[in-house]
Structures are given as C-alpha cells and as structure tokens.
Subunit: 443 residues, 2 copies
C-alpha cells in the first residue's frame, strides 16, 4: 500500500499531537485521538501518564469509556482510577469486567508507592508436579484466557504460595517428561507487597531481573512487578530528588500540569525557610558593622566569599546525597567520606584562594582601589576562602549523614541547612580572619 | 533442610559482604566470593557494576577467569571487556567461546551510550511462513542452544530483516495451524543501533515495552534492548544531571571509586568558573563603596538579597531543566514557561519581601539598630526582594531555553550562568532601589 494523502496527514497529526498535547484541553485531546488510526491512538494512549489517561477516558462519551479503560492491564487501570477525581472512581470501576474489577479493587487498597501498588496481578503459573509438556500446554491455555505478557513461570502450591520459578527458556529447553519441581529454582528473589517502590527498584538493580514476584506476609503470591514499571519508578524518584535538591517540594506531576498556586506553594515553603535561615546573615553582619565602617573594602568581597562557600557546599552535599540514593554510600562510610571531603575542601579552597589573591594583586596594578594595605587584603581573601570552602565542603558532606541518621530525607533538608550554615559561618570566618590579619593597618 | 550453623554464617557473610564491598581490595573480594555458595556468589557477581565485575574477573587466577566471564550474557561481557584496562581486553576476549567472542567484538564496535552498545544480540526468532505449532517447536530448539531470556519472538526474513513481532502470549494463544505471518504485528517499534541511550529510554517510556528490537540502517535486526538495561540508563542519566546541577562534572563512576585528584579536577573546573563569574560581584560592589560608606546598614542585607535571588533562580532552572530532560517541556514552550515564571517570581518575591519588611520593623522595636530611617530601609528591602526574586526566577527559567537553542546542555551550564547573572544583577537592583528610596535620608 503506497501512502496516500490521508495517511500522510495522519502521520503528521501524530507527531504534532505529541508536541501540542500539553496545550490541548480535554475535548480536543479526545478529538485528536479519534482522528488517529485506532492502533496508533491506542499506542499513544498507553504512553500517557495516568493523570492524562484518566482525563481522556472521562472526556470520552459514556459509551466509549469502556473500550478505553478495558484495554489497560489491571495495574495501569488501577492507576487511572486512582488519578481520577474521587466522584468518578466508582463509575470507572463499573466499566471494567467483573474479574478485572476485583483485581483493580485489590490493587487500589495498596499505597501507590508500595510494591503492591506497582504490581500486575496476572502472571504465568503452573503446579510443581506437572511435566514440562503438561506445563507448556497449560501455559497455552492460560495465554488464551489472561491478556498479559509472560516473563517467567511461577510455581505455586494449592494455597497459592510461591514454591519456585522457571524461565521460559528453561521450560522450553527442559526434557519434556521432567517434573516442574525438578527444574524450578526454589531460591526465588521476592519483594513483599508493602515494600516501598524505591527499595523494589534496588532489588531489581542488584539482581538484574525482568520481573520479580510480589508475595504477602504469609508467602502467598500476589502478582509480579516488571522492569518497565521500574523504569518509571527510577525516573520518578530521580525527578523528586532533583526537585528537592533544587529547593522545591516534589511536584509529583509534570511541570506543565501543576497549577499556578500549587506551584507557588511548593516553592514558597522552602524559599521562606531558606529566607528565615539567611536572616541570620543579617544578624551576623550586625556584629561586623564597625569593621565595615572602618574598612568598606571588606564589604566588596562578601558576595564572593558567600557564594564560594555555598557552591562548594552544594557540590559536596549533591555528591553525597546521590551516592546515598544509589546505595553507594551508607551511614557507616561517614568518616571516610568526611575525611576525604575535608582534604578536597582544603585543596579546592587553596585553588580559589590563590585565584582571589591574584585578582587583588593584578587589579591593584591597573587601578589602586584597594589602598596601601592591598597585600594584607589579598592574604585575608586567600585565607578566608580556604576556611570557607573547607567548611562548606565539610558541612555539605556531613549534613546528609546527620539527617539520614535522624531518619530525615537528606535530599529535601540538606540544601537549606547547608546554605544557611555555610553563609553564616562564612561571614564569621571572613571577618575573624580580617580582624586578625588587618589589625593595626585597616582595622 | 533446616538451616545449620554454616548456612547461617554464609548468610551473614552475604549481608556483610554487601556493606563491606566498597572497602575491600580486589583479592579480598575474590576470597569473599569464593567463600559464598556458588549460586549466591554468581548472583552477587551479576549485580556488580561492570567496573567491579572486570576487577573481580581479572583478580581471579587465570584458570577460573573463564568461568566468570562466560556466565555473563554477551552485552554484559562486552561491558566488562570495555571496563577492563586496555592491556587485559584481548586476554578477556580470548576466554570466551568463539560464537560469543564474535558477538562481543561486534558489540564493542558501538559507542557505550548508543543503542548498539546496550543491546543483547540474542533473541527468539522465527520465520513468517511457519505455522504456530512449528514456531513453538522451533523456539524449544532455540531455547536449548541460546542462553537468553525470551520476551517477544521476532519474525525475520532470510536477509535477517525484521518483518514483525509476536508476543509469547499471542503465539501461545493462537490457532496452532495459523501462519506466523498472519498473527504477527508488522508495525514494530524499533530503535537504530546508533541511537543515543537517552532517546532509547524515551522510546521505552512512550510505548511501555519490555524489549525493543535494534535494527541497522538497512532494517537488519541486530539485537534487542530490554527494560532492565533501561533501568540502568535512566539511573545513570539522572545521576549525571543531578551532579551537573550540583555544579560537578558527571563522575561516570560511583562516588567511592573516583580517585582523589580526579574528584578535585571534576569539581575544581566549575568551582573556578563560578568563582571567576562571581568576581564580577566584587567589581559591581566597587561602584557602591560610597553608598556603603555613608550607610553601612546597607551592607547588612547583601547576603540575604544575594541568596534569595540565587535560591529562586535555582528553583526555576532546576524545574525547567528536569522538565526538559523528561520531554515535558520543549523549546517551543519557552514563552508560556517564562511568562508563568515571571508571575511566580512576582508572587514569591512579594512573600519574601513582606517577610523581610516585617523583620526590620520587629527587630527595630526590640533593638533600634536601624536608626530613624528604618521604615525606608524596610521598604528598600521589600522592593529589592521583589526585583531580585523576579529577576532570579526569570533568568533561571529563560537560560535553559537559551542554552538548549544553542545546542548546549542546559544541565551543565545553567547553574554557573544563573548564579553569576543573578548575583551581579541582584546587587545592582538592590543598590539602585536603595539610592532611589534612601536619597535625601541615609544617602
């Protein structure tokens, strides 16, 4: 079939739809989906966030809703119901067939970020005493009944307790007359239905599996979590951490979907906390008013000193927090990390200090604004930068450990503490060094 | 089998090994693996990074290396060879069997972060004219020969070109006499072998697949990329972005594995760039020396002003950069984002300004350090904060678009530009407002 004009238009529409999606109101989204060929529309629908899927399903006329919610596997349907306004949830559940509705209701009982909230309750299963040939026929029957992908086959006893696992490859390559019990692996890696999704993603990473069975407290098999769910989890958790490190509360939604006042609220909280913390700098500065009055030149370098401390502190805390999130660094490593960061701070502070020193010497040659004591001022800047950068690095690396040991989230709380601590301490270091080095000359 | 004492010790060793791993030299790692039961040791080995796998394999005596490198699938073996020192690579390749060595060598020809470098060259395949029954028997034969997991079955012609795909469920549930050609999906989502891994991870996200076939420029099937590889990609890319946003060059290795001087180098570059940028603040301050000399009280709020601008700028740039990385926001959205950020900045600045205003009024009641003109000082702080926060938010949201349109990486370059721009401009805004509002009183 050669592409005709209407084909071409459809294809353009798909690409354009992707770009325009965020801007479209619900009704236009539905119209756009209707204009696509059904397969393309379904594919596009699968790729949407649960929020968008819920919005689209609800925007369809009643008689078409059923088609759209029913093409989703149970775990995704549960997410859609969860994402819908509270009033619409029962109506959406009513559109599902009985078996799926039962599964979806069971999934809705789990917290969204627990393994139970991620898992798919449909998976390939067999009994330990089947032969391989029997198991394969049995799987062919299951495949007809249950619309789900197969990764591994799980061996269950008659209480639905998990006994073992066999990969498709193993099942296919085994002696057709062998018993399932004899080819299965009994040492199965499992997660519990209440486990947090971040931990589940760590289990995936450690064992490099495609699917992990979810069991309840009594060892009963509840479903499977698959690697494609984990891709979303890893992305979500990284987004949360990035937003927290940037001093914003986790948005939990795409940037464009967050309402104006919701966005203000998520940002104002930390901005105000930081601001209150930073007010301490004004208090600290009050104590150095006399020094500034006598040597205004000291005020010139305040922003430079403060930002150098802040930058080195944020480097150290970012590195340590990410290493903690990846499981590369644990609480017990604190002394090695802090010792290493201390020496890094000294070297980095020395580099910045040398550059600062040089700057004053060079500028003085061009335009002697720093007065006759410029060498002393240069030394003050040099020594302060070493102190401030070392302190910033130390504080930035130590605080995540402290917060973690207090069971607080290092990502969300380190930034404001480090910023305030480093800025206030930076000023104290700077003016202390200045009063030592400039006493008898400028001060 | 009831656990005896030695079982218990083994289990302790595995948990302890996990904790102690980062601290152990190569020989101790090998000894620890030897002490574990073989299955546990292999499982642990699978979960290691390619760097650690390479180190462990090379630390084993020659006669045992073969066992360890051969248990890895070709794509992981290729990563290990890549991670080994250049001198050891040929030796490691020599340990592989002929077929695998050919596959691994082919994989090594790809860039590490291209789809070709991620893919597994082994996958389940069949011909379009087989019947379903024939195809299932054929798969049972393949399963015996090729040690890889099955997700989908790919339909290839005799030129190895990809014609379609069938899921295991579909194959199992189809009429046994049907032709593969009639049940396959011909509209396959594929990636090319040269596609960047970040793009590949987007394709996964959009289509929610477990495996995607990799084809070359002529449509020839080269391998499959599976979701578990994508989990690692998403995690790596997020780590890079987090490190860049924290003002560090991407480490590309676990924090603990980066050498001291390598770490200094990765941090010093941005720290020095930022420092040179921030030197402009000292230059700007030079112009306001007279104002500070006349009203030292102005100096007190410099750190507060600067940090408020910096914090609001980093909020905005973090949100925009992450939204860009997730594909939620594109270049064409710049005007909507910037307009929205402008109003956010006004509101946030108003909040901080009001708090700053209040602080001066309250403190003055307690201890009248701000003198008779404290109301004017409070207004100066209020107005400056609105200006500085609005400018910070605007600059933070606009710069990522500017950098992206210049084909630069927003994550690595925004932070320094925003910081410098916002700090220097913040000072100018503050002193300009001050000279307007305090003229005739303090100035």
């Amino acid at each position: 079939m050669s592409p005709n004009r209407s084909d071409l238009e459809d294809r353009l529409t798909l690409a354009e739809l992707q770009d325009a999606w965020a801007l479209l109101p619900a009704e236009d989204r539905v119209d756009a989906l209707k204009e696509l060929p059904p397969a393309a529309a379904q594919d596009y629908f699968f790729g949407l966030s649960s929020q968008d899927q819920a919005q689209v399903v609800l925007a369809f006329p009643l008689e078409e809703r059923r088609t759209w919610i029913r093409i989703l596997p149970p775990d995704d349907a549960a997410d859609v119901v969860q994402a819908a306004p509270a009033d619409d949830r029962d109506g959406l559940l009513a559109e599902l067939d009985d078996a799926t509705r039962k599964e979806v209701s069971a999934l809705l009982a789990y917290a969204e970020d627990a393994a139970g909230g991620l898992m798919n309750p449909r998976y390939a299963r067999m009994r330990p005493d089947m032969t391989v040939d029997e198991a394969i026929s049995y799987l062919r029957r299951q495949a007809r009944e249950s619309p789900e992908s197969f990764y591994y086959v799980y061996v269950l006893d008659d209480q639905q307790r998990l006994l073992g696992v066999v990969s498709f490859r193993e099942l296919f390559s085994a002696n057709p007359q062998a018993r399932v019990r004899d080819i299965m692996h009994a040492d199965v890696v499992t997660v519990t239905d209440q486990m947090d999704q971040e931990l589940v993603s760590r289990v995936f990473q450690e064992h490099r599996l495609t699917a992990i069975p979810v069991v309840d407290a009594t060892g009963g098999m509840k479903g499977i979590v698959t690697a494609d769910d984990i891709v979303d989890v890893v992305r979500e958790e990284a987004t949360e951490d990035i937003q927290k490190l940037g001093g914003v509360q986790a948005l939990d939604e795409p940037y464009m979907n967050v309402g104006f006042f919701e966005m203000i609220r998520k940002r104002a909280v930390w901005l105000l906390v930081l601001f209150v913390g930073e007010m301490l700098t004004a208090t600290a500065m009050t104590h150095y008013q006399d020094e500034i009055a006598r040597a205004v030149v000291l005020a010139l370098f305040i922003p430079l000193i403060i930002s150098s401390g802040g930058n080195s502190g944020s480097q150290a805390s970012t590195l340590v927090i990410r290493a903690m999130a990846l499981g590369e660094v644990g609480l017990r490593d604190w002394w090695r990390v802090v010792r290493r960061e201390f020496f890094s701070g000294l070297v980095l502070g020395g580099l910045l200090g040398a550059l600062g020193f040089l700057r004053i010497i060079v500028y003085q040659r061009i335009d002697p604004i720093y007065g006759p004591h410029y060498i002393r001022i240069a030394f003050t800047l040099f020594a302060s930068l070493i102190g401030v950068v070392t302190f910033g690095t130390l504080a930035g690396s130590l605080l995540p450990f402290l917060l973690r040991s207090l069971k607080l989230d290092p990502a969300s709380a380190s930034a404001p503490f480090v910023a305030t601590l480093v800025d206030v301490t930076g000023l104290v270091i700077y003016f202390t060094v200045a009063s030592l080095l400039l006493r008898g000359s400028l001060l």
